[in-house]
């Protein structure tokens, strides 16, 4: 093991732990005596420019961080992680789960002055969520129509039962509404409005200079009383993480969302009184680190080998030394932040046990000849430095039990193509994003029959009828209690078979100025509308 590297990272991680510990209380500090101050410009770090800004057709944090302030969703999550109405005031589902009725808020207008009505919801649902939006197209697969008996009522009709708790947990991300009158003619993807979004939100789009900045100003006609407080939000495009940290220190940036700085810079700024470094406000954006197995390799098709690999890696050691308090031990595909679905830790687990790993590999018939049993190709995703560290750790851990690992690095497009389309991998590792309900983007990692080339889905060459049945039943189960039980079964089943192992849980880290108030107060705050955010003098 490369000790010099380990030392540095251990030190970083310890500093980080101290920094986070010191800041745990900071976001909670009570500012009850302070009265909100109007005005001010809020400067946001924007690390990776997207091709467009409309959250109705693209579900990613890179779009929500901007589009989520300009456009609004039907429902969002409140401080406790429960659905709360935004454009929708109330909702109800019929007992068979095939009809969901949303009552919409009255008197809301688009930024161009046209009234917001149920027509907009129906148009967006049928043409964007169902047809274009990633994960939306899966969620709304059985949506057949949206009826609009009056401007304040939208009735969603489904061919198969749609669990209300699934819909309400998916809609904060997958329920942004676009204006029908701006999108009804022409190709939605090519619509110029996508780069100059028009919404109902607290901030109005002003200007987008590609490669430089995006500006949105206060919407004076916003429907929530006395909101928003800020005059302007500026998103500055800064691709270099170290440069972004320097801009935070120079006071040119107020907020770097979604772990946008390097681990060492976050640790350093965490000790600086001018900043708050915390995972609070990102609970809704949990992710797990994965080990994905390709069953086309005969060695990996053997369950003993997969379990041996899981046993061979000392995950707590890795977390403690490399990730610090930014991560915790994971127990499978549903992270512990998911209060509605987390089945607890009592599912099959694979704690570090080198002797057991060796015994399992021997038992499977892969004897070590000259120290080596077989060689595997590991493809790490390029999404973050944790994946890079993790892949090296896997390489070294497996080397100790006689499995030689060759790491093949790619950029984003190359990684997706090689893993999920060409299947040119033995092991792959990246992030699984959990989106508040397992049916949104988790079960596709395990359900068989995924079309070749669909990223972040079961492309392992693995199929299990029992797991498929559990997933299908849970997706249409209307009773929340039964649904939770079905997902607990699901976790037990996939942790037993182990087509993918998800042993680390992470939440994004926020770096924000200590002057910000009402920040990080919902589980998806980086994506939220910031109508109540203000800056103290």
């Amino acid at each position: 093991m490369d000790l010099s590297r380990l030392e540095i990272n251990r030190r970083t991680a310890l500093l980080t732990s101290a920094a986070i510990a010191a800041n745990v209380l900071n976001p909670m500090r009570a500012f009850a005596q302070e009265t909100p101050r109007k005005g001010g410009v809020f400067n946001v770090h924007y690390g990776a420019e997207q091709r467009q800004l409309n959250p109705s057709i693209q579900a990613s944090t890179g779009v929500y961080i901007i589009g989520g302030k300009i456009q609004e969703n039907l429902v969002d999550l409140d401080a406790q992680g429960q659905p709360v109405g935004v454009l929708a005031e109330s909702w109800e589902a019929t007992p068979d789960g095939k009809t969901v009725t949303f009552k919409l808020r009255k008197g809301i207008t688009w930024h161009d002055g046209k009234p917001f009505t149920s027509e907009d919801v129906a148009f967006t649902a049928m043409n964007m969520w169902k047809k274009i939006l990633n994960y939306g197209s899966t969620l709304q697969l059985f949506l057949t129509a949206v009826d609009t008996p009056d401007p304040q009522t939208a009735i969603f009709r489904y061919e198969r039962p749609m669990p209300l708790n699934l819909l309400l947990r998916a809609l904060p991300d997958l329920g942004y509404v676009s204006a029908k009158h701006l999108y009804e003619s022409g190709d939605i993807r090519q619509n110029p409005t996508n780069l100059a979004p028009v919404g109902t939100g607290p901030f109005k789009f002003v200007k987008y200079e590609r490669g430089q900045y995006i500006i949105a100003d206060r919407n004076p006609d916003y429907w929530r009383p006395n909101a928003p407080y800020l005059d302007r939000i500026v998103w500055k495009v800064i691709t270099d993480r170290a440069a972004a940290a320097a801009q935070m220190e120079a006071g040119e940036l107020h907020y770097s969302p979604f772990s946008g700085l390097t681990i060492s810079d976050m640790a350093r700024l965490g000790k600086d009184k001018r900043f708050i470094v915390s995972t609070k406000g990102n609970e809704g954006n949990a992710r797990t680190n994965t080990i994905e197995f390709n069953f086309r390799r005969k060695e990996l098709a053997d369950i003993r080998v997969r379990r041996a690999i899981a046993h061979a890696i000392n995950v707590p050691f890795f977390i403690e030394n490399f990730l610090g308090d930014f991560a915790k031990l994971g127990t499978g595909p549903i992270p512990s932040t998911s209060t509605d679905f987390y089945p607890g830790p009592n599912t099959p687990q694979y704690p570090y046990d080198k002797a057991k790993a060796v015994a399992l590999l021997d038992e499977a018939g892969f004897k070590a000849s000259g120290g080596n049993r077989f060689a595997l190709k590991l493809l790490p995703a390029p999404w973050g430095e944790d994946i890079s560290l993790w892949s090296t750790f896997i390489q070294q851990s497996l080397g100790e039990v006689g499995i030689q690992v060759d790491i093949v690095r790619n950029d984003g497009g190359g990684f997706l193509k090689q893993v999920y389309d060409d299947h040119a991998f033995d092991l792959a590792t990246g992030w699984h994003q959990y989106r508040n309900d397992p049916a949104v983007s988790t079960t596709v990692w395990y359900r068989s029959g995924q079309p070749k080339g669909a990223p972040w889905t079961n492309q392992w060459g693995w199929e299990d009828k029992t797991v498929d049945a559990t997933i299908d039943n849970a997706a249409t189960e209307v009773d929340p209690v039964k649904r939770k039980a079905l997902y607990a079964d699901f976790v037990k089943e996939v942790n037993t078979e182990l087509p993918v192992w998800m042993p680390i849980e992470q939440i994004f880290v926020t770096v924000i100025t200590a002057k910000a108030r009402n920040h990080s107060n919902t589980p998806r705050w980086g994506s939220a509308s910031w109508h109540d955010l203000w800056l103290s003098a």
Partner: protein, 325 residues
């Protein structure tokens, strides 16, 4: 008129090279796994297979590689650089938007490097092997050996974070709308650190070349003649030595104009400048073939143009070259 015909001949001679470069880049990028739709999926964090298929059709990626290349070249012949898949606008527009910051940065740092390289080179050669020479040569070596991103970051930490004299990044101040001279000054302030960062590395090369070239020319017969005529040292240096020693420097400018376009990815990223280098990097990561080829095309044109100007300068500095051309 002679200049025009020379320019015409030069351009005609570069066209085959230009096409070979473009075809080479096109084929090279085919070797990279994944296309722009895969890159889009990576950015979005998901997407279904049907959508991917629709998008491939939209971007013309469902055709065979030779057909795509043929299409591209056919458009290019009609001076159409195609459509950028990441920007959703014509490539020509995207590049035109990015060209001013790049050219500004390039000209500023090249001029900086050229001017100070010249001055320090002359000083070093006048005091060869004495303390001014040693000092200048050592500094040059340090500048040359330091990675530019580190230089840039340290410059930001010192001048923007601690001293707060200069802005830490960006092309202009977004907070206030400025016009006329104030805008020019604002952009200039934003370009000081990037120019220094990019220029210091080149400065080192220029001063080494200038020093060597000066030393060589100083030993030539005509310099002795000039001194024998009784000219004072300043006259000898400025009128006789400098002019002749400048030729290698001018050659270097021609060579480096091209390098600077590509080499500024790092500086543009560190200082968040919207230049061509970052655009090229982004187009590779996003597999935006049209944009990348467009940048290669425009960079090649710029290099050809700069080299043409350099050739004209040669003639001006040394009339013998023009007589032969």
């Amino acid at each position: 008129m002679r200049i025009l015909s020379l320019a015409g001949r030069r351009l005609a001679a570069s066209i085959p090279t230009l096409f070979l470069i473009l075809i080479g880049v096109f084929l090279l990028l085919q070797l990279a796994p994944g296309d722009t739709v895969d890159a889009l999926m990576a950015q979005m964090g998901g997407g279904d297979a049907a959508t991917a298929q629709q998008l491939r059709k939209l971007y013309g990626l469902d055709l065979s590689v030779p057909a795509q290349l043929g299409n591209y070249l056919w458009h290019l012949v009609r001076l159409d650089l195609g459509f950028s898949s990441i920007y959703g606008k014509p490539v020509a527009t995207v590049i035109l938007e990015r060209l001013p910051p790049t050219i500004l940065l390039m000209t500023a740092s090249l001029s900086f490097a050229f001017f100070f390289g010249l001055v320090f080179g002359v000083i070093a050669s006048r005091g060869v092997n004495r303390w001014p020479d040693t000092l200048i040569s050592t500094l040059g070596l340090i500048f040359y050996a330091t990675p530019s991103f580190w230089f840039g970051l340290m410059a930001i930490v010192v001048f923007s974070v601690y001293l707060q004299w200069l802005p830490p990044g960006g092309f202009e101040d977004i907070g206030t709308v400025q016009t006329g001279i104030w805008r020019v000054l604002d952009i200039a302030a934003h370009l000081v650190l990037p120019t220094l960062t990019l220029g210091l590395i080149f400065l080192a090369i220029y001063l080494r070349i200038m020093r060597a070239s000066m030393l060589e020319v100083l030993n030539l017969d005509f310099v002795r003649t000039a001194r024998a005529k009784g000219l004072d040292e300043t006259h000898v240096i400025t009128r006789h030595v400098l002019r002749n020693a400048l030729l290698p420097m001018v050659t270097l400018i021609g060579l480096q104009a091209g390098t600077m376009l590509g080499g500024s990815v790092v500086v543009e990223s560190v200082f968040s400048l919207p230049g061509l280098g970052r655009l090229a990097y982004e187009s590779v990561v996003q597999r935006d073939l049209n944009t990348l080829l467009g940048i290669v095309f425009v960079s090649a044109l710029l290099v050809i143009a700069v080299n043409f100007v350099v050739d004209l300068l040669y003639a001006r500095l040394d009339p013998r070259i023009a007589a032969e051309g």
